[in-house]
Point group: C2
């Protein structure tokens, strides 16, 4: 009546490297038939595993099964002899002894997997998302994303940040404004969190340093190549800072670690996508006012309180030319346009101790120093005609004490799309949510 499960595992995904170690011997590979090229009695059957393409060779005089049973998109378990073959991807191939068909599609793919790049408009790509993501280049983007996320996490954990999960159904909104998704929560009015801001600030009170990787919701009506309505935020918040430079230094060191993590663990995707990993050495930091003055000399700087998308491109191009850096911090934004929890510069209260990080023409981070003193936070709320009573549970953190602290948020899809040089941020979201897409 009782079985025992001992924790024996199936082998992992077959890789060219693992296969090459078995040269001259028999091996079994499971994969999806990606493409078949027949040449007389020989056929090259390319298998797609979870990360690689592997070449198998069907020779009707060797293989006990009939290749007529194979079609694009069917899943097989193939057995044969491993041979080193320089012309095959990964330098190795499998001469088939036989195969078993595990599963068949009910219809042919509506998109061609064998093209080097997926030849489909963005609309078609999203319409057939369950197929498009099978294309080697399309899916590789999400391995790069995995590498960014886990390089970030690895750095945070090594530097004594605690990983937290904050609720996404909340009663109050961190950023204010109308751009929130609203829902009923057992009869109460609730919103989906626009950021983990309040919770990570509270987290500093118990863990000194915290980070979170989690969904963020923005009900913005923007329909651009750089906005998503649901995205993944990489957030951190750290106590005992001297000023926001500590936060910027932490981000610089983290990005350096992330790029090294990608270089070490994601070479197949870096090569496939032609990713250029940026050098993260000294990142220049310019004050917003100075950036604006420069931008006006080149026809930009139309908004005196913020950078436009065009400004970001212009400024990055200028900084790259001047310093060789593909990143630039812009600091000291006008206080009026920054959220209520941001600390203002004591020397010039019209400037906030707040920064953005731009990368290759796109803002990927907003961060800064926060107000830690209760009276100061209440006063700033009142000056903005906000009622502190609406924020009682957040203000409890300040009331019972917080160390000086600051932090930031990074848009994971934005950083991924810039690294992979994607034209549209939707290509860096498995199942993007925008004005027109609620499915799949």
């Amino acid at each position: 009546m009782m079985k025992e499960i001992r924790g024996e595992q199936l082998p992992g995904c077959m890789t060219p490297g693992r296969l090459a170690e078995m040269a001259g011997r028999k091996a079994t590979v499971e994969g999806c038939v990606h493409n078949i090229r027949a040449l007389g009695g020989i056929a090259f059957v390319i298998l797609r595993t979870g990360r690689y393409l592997l070449q198998t060779v069907y020779d009707q005089s060797v293989c006990r099964d009939d290749a007529a049973a194979l079609e694009d998109g069917c899943y097989i378990s193939a057995t044969g002899t491993v041979r080193l073959e320089q012309r095959a991807a990964g330098g190795v191939e499998l001469l088939l002894d036989g195969f078993e068909v595990l599963s068949r599609p009910a219809a042919p793919y509506p998109l061609n997997m064998a093209d080097r790049s997926l030849k489909a408009t963005l609309g078609t790509n999203l319409e057939y998302r369950a197929v498009a993501l099978r294309h080697p280049r399309e899916r590789a983007v999400f391995r790069v994303m995995e590498g960014i996320e886990n390089g970030f996490r690895d750095f945070m954990l090594r530097n004594d940040f605690a990983e937290i999960h904050s609720p996404k159904i909340t009663a109050i909104s961190a950023e204010g404004g109308a751009e929130v998704f609203r829902l009923k929560y057992f009869g109460s009015d609730a919103v989906l969190a626009q950021s983990p801001q309040f919770y990570k600030q509270m987290g500093v009170a118990f863990f000194d340093r915290v980070f979170e990787v989690g969904e963020v919701y923005r009900a913005e009506l923007h329909n651009t190549s750089r906005h998503l309505n649901e995205y993944v935020g990489l957030d951190f918040e750290m106590g005992y800072i001297r000023d926001m430079t500590d936060v910027m230094n932490m981000e610089t060191a983290m990005l350096r670690h992330v790029m090294a993590h990608l270089a070490e663990n994601y070479q197949p995707e870096i090569e496939l996508l032609g990713v250029r990993l940026p050098a993260v050495e000294a990142i220049p930091a310019v004050k917003f006012a100075d950036a604006l003055a420069y931008l006006k000399t080149v026809g930009g700087g139309k908004n005196r309180n913020d950078l436009t998308a065009d400004d970001e491109v212009l400024l990055c191009s200028h900084i790259l030319q001047q310093t060789g850096s593909e990143f630039v911090f812009v600091t000291h934004f006008p206080s009026a346009k920054r959220p209520f929890y941001v600390m203002d510069d004591q020397e010039n209260p019209k400037e906030a101790l707040s920064f953005d990080l731009l990368f290759r023409g796109l803002e990927i981070t907003t961060g800064g120093q926060r107000i830690h003193d209760y009276a100061q936070q209440v006063a700033k709320m009142k000056a903005r005609n906000m009622d502190p009573a609406d924020f009682e549970s957040f203000l409890a953190a300040h009331k019972y004490g917080l160390p000086p602290h600051g932090g930031l948020g990074i848009g994971l899809e934005r950083l991924t799309s810039k690294l992979c040089d994607l034209a549209n941020i939707r290509q860096a979201s498995l199942f993007p949510r925008d004005l027109n897409h609620l499915a799949p």
Copy 2:
């Protein structure tokens, strides 16, 4: 006009180990005043850092600053001489030369931090959550949770699973039923995801093996010690399985890795909380029908289609006595009560190839083998009076092909609460969401 940020970092959180290495020398420690015990001209000022308590000693004949400036809850930077001292927690203390007060609370804590355990009802604990979580034992639970999550992630990445993020705002509901949170998405009807089920099955098509750590939403009206309305799911899904035993083996190996990861990295919390890490050797697996037959002999088994909460306790106790295992798999649940995507046993279609994992009297996992064949999935939907057209984007994965696959979901808070022996699952959620709590 331009600064350079070079990635210089603040030192991490001070630990007793790092401090002890500096014995006889000067050190600076930043922390929150946790407790002050005065003894004549001497006072023991216990500092709370992000993970530890550190003893500092104030001697008015040595310290240049006046201890009268210190109060519970204020944040200080303290400098002094490091001394090994067996009676201090961690075997080390700091004789204060001086300190700087960085920040002060606006009000005294409403809860006593100095008690070994927090003396507060659950209601008070949740009402003052921003304070309660500062208590060493309360916060330690979330380090254990971090360890479970990252042990899980580490195992998954080492075993070729890709980490994914699926959308939480969705058009359709994976589990069906009325227990979903509804919202308007730019004029369309949407729900919050009850699980990443559809997306991780789709993910198998492009990555073979996927996992996700993410929020899960259940609008259940349950108000019990084991339910939350928003929780964190640890999910995985793997292709090319032979049967559901492969999934159970993978989980067993993963749990073994998680317990080793906790033992290696979370000793301070294990000791503080008295966590008993379970041995994960062979986990017994019993069929539901056999479990039910046993339960009836001991007054349980009232529901012939599922296990009740009482049954779970009775069965775990029996298995522990019989085998020494604190875990037990229950397999082959009645098909009628399992979701439409579950594969039924070919030999007995009334039984589903579906399992639960129980741990110390509580279900922590549901998993099984899924249907991969398009026609079979459509037929099962129709047999249940479901309209396949409602699930078109999910069925696209089957239509264009999926390998045989299975997977599972684990409730992170449930596993954490059982490991830490908490009376209520709310103590394993930083900011729990239940029928009565939408804030903080």
